[in-house]
């Protein structure tokens, strides 16, 4: 498969990861400028996971993510301006300003959020897959969650239910080693996450989550197997969060040196250093990509700035459906 990674694809993946990186860097500035509020969880360092997995999904497939989902939304094709507008709390936002950073939605792209309860998105993903299965649709539901979620009962119930009913779910575990300040070894008695899947009779494998090509290959195998009726797959992506858990995290729980070591494996560098990238990502190309990305983000920020706030009279809309009573 790696052979299939043409120069175009190398550029495309690099660009996609850079979009996420620069988008979030801008979010940090906008947070300091109090344009963005609430919790802001950055995906910086983990871009290869969302980009690698999303590139294997079809339009009909569904996605469920967590509160750390800017990258997933961007990689799934949710327009940057509607995401930025959402974080500005504007009506033009992808959730009309009701959700904010933690609750990005885009049903047209089957992007079902944006769930801020750890493990809370998994049952929903199982249900989306159940519906596809009952209707004989060939879709796969990709569900992203952190390794911290593995300790939640909801995770374990869902792994069993999906395996028992052989539902088309890709359980994509983003193992960035920490749940806020809790290292995996202080959260799980057995830290080999893929091993857990065997307790549910589910196929499982681990992949280097800093290498977008490796993630894409692993995800493609998983998605093909799932689509072929092979039942759910648990995919552990070994990655790392370069930034704090959120904007309010003093990072007392890890050494700067550890962070630095992982930064040596920055997914942008890892891709640039792969042989397929040789000569493809020259300075001019990268500069051009940077420029295009900067453009897109500037446009998104301008769009968000100019967008309107929802009128106060609309406060209680969307509590119940308008076609309901």
């Amino acid at each position: 498969m790696t052979a299939a990674l043409t120069a175009d694809l190398v550029r495309a993946r690099y660009r996609e990861m850079l979009r996420i990186r620069r988008f979030e860097e801008r979010c940090v500035e906008l947070y300091s400028a109090t344009k963005i509020r609430g919790f802001l969880h950055l995906y910086i360092g983990e871009e290869a996971v969302a980009v690698g997995v999303m590139s294997t999904l079809a339009d009909g497939d569904a996605v469920v993510a967590t509160y750390r989902e800017h990258g997933h939304a961007l990689a799934r094709g949710v327009p940057a301006d509607s995401i930025m507008a959402e974080m500005f709390g504007k009506v033009a936002g992808c959730s009309r300003g009701r959700g904010g950073s933690m609750h990005l939605f885009d049903v047209g792209r089957r992007f079902y959020g944006g769930n801020a309860i750890v493990g809370g998105g998994l049952p929903v993903a199982v249900g989306l897959a159940l519906a596809d299965r009952m209707r004989g649709e060939p879709n796969v539901t990709a569900c992203f969650f952190g390794e911290g979620a593995v300790a939640e009962g909801e995770f374990r119930e869902c792994m069993n239910l999906a395996a028992l009913w052989r539902l088309p779910v890709l359980f994509c575990c983003e193992n960035n080693l920490y749940a806020m300040g809790t290292a995996l070894a202080r959260s799980e008695a057995e830290t080999d996450l893929a091993l857990k899947a065997t307790g549910y009779g589910m196929a499982a494998w681990s992949v280097d989550g800093m290498d977008v090509v490796a993630v894409e290959d692993a995800a493609r195998r998983a998605v093909e197997s799932i689509r072929g009726g092979g039942g759910p797959v648990f995919l552990e992506c070994r990655t790392y969060r370069f930034r704090a858990h959120s904007m309010y995290d003093p990072e007392l729980y890890r050494e700067k040196s550890e962070v630095e070591a992982w930064k040596q494996r920055d997914p942008l560098l890892v891709l640039a250093n792969r042989e397929e990238a040789a000569g493809v990502l020259d300075d001019a190309t990268v500069a051009a990509i940077e420029a295009a990305v900067a453009d897109e983000i500037d446009t998104a920020v301008a769009f968000a700035e100019e967008a309107a706030f929802e009128p106060l009279e609309e406060l209680t809309r969307f509590v119940y459906s308008e076609d309901g009573r």
């Binding site: 569904a62 936002g93 992808c94 959730s95 009309r96 300003g97 009701r98 959700g99 609750h103 939605f105 885009d106 049903v107 079902y112 959020g113 944006g114 769930n115 309860i117 809370g120 998994l122 049952p123 929903v124 993903a125 199982v126 249900g127 989306l128 897959a129 159940l130 519906a131 596809d132 009952m134 209707r135 009962g153 909801e154 119930e157 869902c158 069993n160 239910l161 028992l164 809309r317 969307f318 509590v319 119940y320 459906s321 308008e322 076609d323 309901g324 009573r325």
Partner: protein
């Protein structure tokens, strides 16, 4: 579809079963999912026989994983199915509360209107069968506190037969509470709905002396109390709420203003009960029309004891309801 036409009297249980069967026959998107709904025949035998008729895909037995299968119902509803999720009893629904409150009730809002959740969750509620402190809760009032949810409580065979269709037709999550003590109650639901849509309250008795406002498992007790009062020449309104969220304010105020004396009967624990909300609403909006303070007849504030005499003492009864009506008529 002779299977769905109802022949004269049937039990509340049979009426609910007929409603589920009819919904499944009419709409291929509808399926029933929950613990032991299939092979076992349903823990209260409501779904008995449906597995044979509809098969294991649509009468779907689940593992003991309340959070996962309720959440799966949410996901399936989002994707366009019309799941009926059965939770054996409201006590166990606590294990699925994260999914119900944090997802079912919020997804439409968090998504800015993109993600409606047309899910129906059925569960039994209430005490009266000596099942003690972990199987006797009445938490429907709790659920009625949550914006984004709708809550129905069929208290008659008629409503058991016809309310489900309204719940399934609704685009938002609807919780249906069936009081376990009602399953063997008999009645004739007729061939078609005689009541208005599920969301409005219905006056089950009409009188001028006072208003008794109730729902679900307490309705038969209130009707018995009304009969006893009638025998003494005291005629009261008995208003059946039917929908606990939204509440039919107009109906609440109409009866309160007409009789000027109100008793609310609710099997929930008194403090923080749905009865408190009804009392507060009536007082807020009809204070000057009342001749006496709104009274509440609720359960004693105790985890339900097993012993029969203690359990009975903890619950509302026709005689305690009659006493409350006498009281509210003495007041003022």
């Amino acid at each position: 579809m002779t299977t769905t036409t109802t022949t004269a009297t049937q039990t509340y249980r049979e009426a609910m079963r007929a409603a589920i069967r009819e919904a499944m026959q009419r709409d291929p998107r509808v399926f029933l999912m929950g613990e032991d709904v299939g092979r076992y025949g349903g823990c209260f035998a409501v779904s008995k026989g449906l597995l044979e008729e509809f098969g294991p895909e649509r009468i779907r037995d689940t593992p003991l994983s309340e959070s996962a299968f309720v959440g799966a119902g949410i996901g399936a509803a989002i994707a366009g199915m019309r799941p009926i999720v059965e939770i054996m009893t409201v006590n166990f629904s606590l294990l699925a509360l994260d999914q119900i409150l944090n997802n079912a009730a919020t997804l439409l809002h968090m998504s800015g209107g993109q993600v409606p959740v047309p899910l129906v969750i059925r569960m039994t509620t209430g005490a009266g069968r000596q099942l003690a402190a972990q199987h006797s809760h009445s938490l429907e009032g709790w659920y009625a506190h949550v914006p984004g949810l709708k809550v129905l409580a069929p208290g008659t065979v008629d409503d058991a037969r016809w309310m489900l269709a309204g719940a399934l037709a609704d685009p938002d999550p609807v919780l249906l509470f069936e009081h376990a003590a009602l399953y063997n109650m008999e009645g004739d639901p007729g061939e078609s709905p005689t009541q208005p849509d599920p969301w409005s309250a219905v006056l089950r008795r009409r009188g001028e002396a006072a208003s008794v406002i109730t729902y679900g498992g307490s309705l038969p007790k209130c009707l018995a109390a009304a009969d006893a009062l009638e025998a003494r020449g005291v005629a009261v309104d008995v208003l059946d709420l039917r929908s606990l969220r939204p509440l039919d304010d107009a109906a609440l105020l109409a009866t309160a203003r007409r009789t000027r004396r109100v008793v609310v009967v609710d099997e929930g624990w008194r403090s923080g009960s749905l009865a408190a909300e009804i009392s507060a609403r009536i007082t807020e909006q009809a204070f000057y029309d009342l001749d006496a303070p709104v009274l509440r007849v609720c359960s004693a504030e105790v985890p339900m004891p097993y012993a029969k005499h203690l359990e009975e003492a903890a619950l509302p009864h026709p005689d305690t309801i009659v006493a409350a009506v006498d009281q509210v008529m003495r007041d003022g």
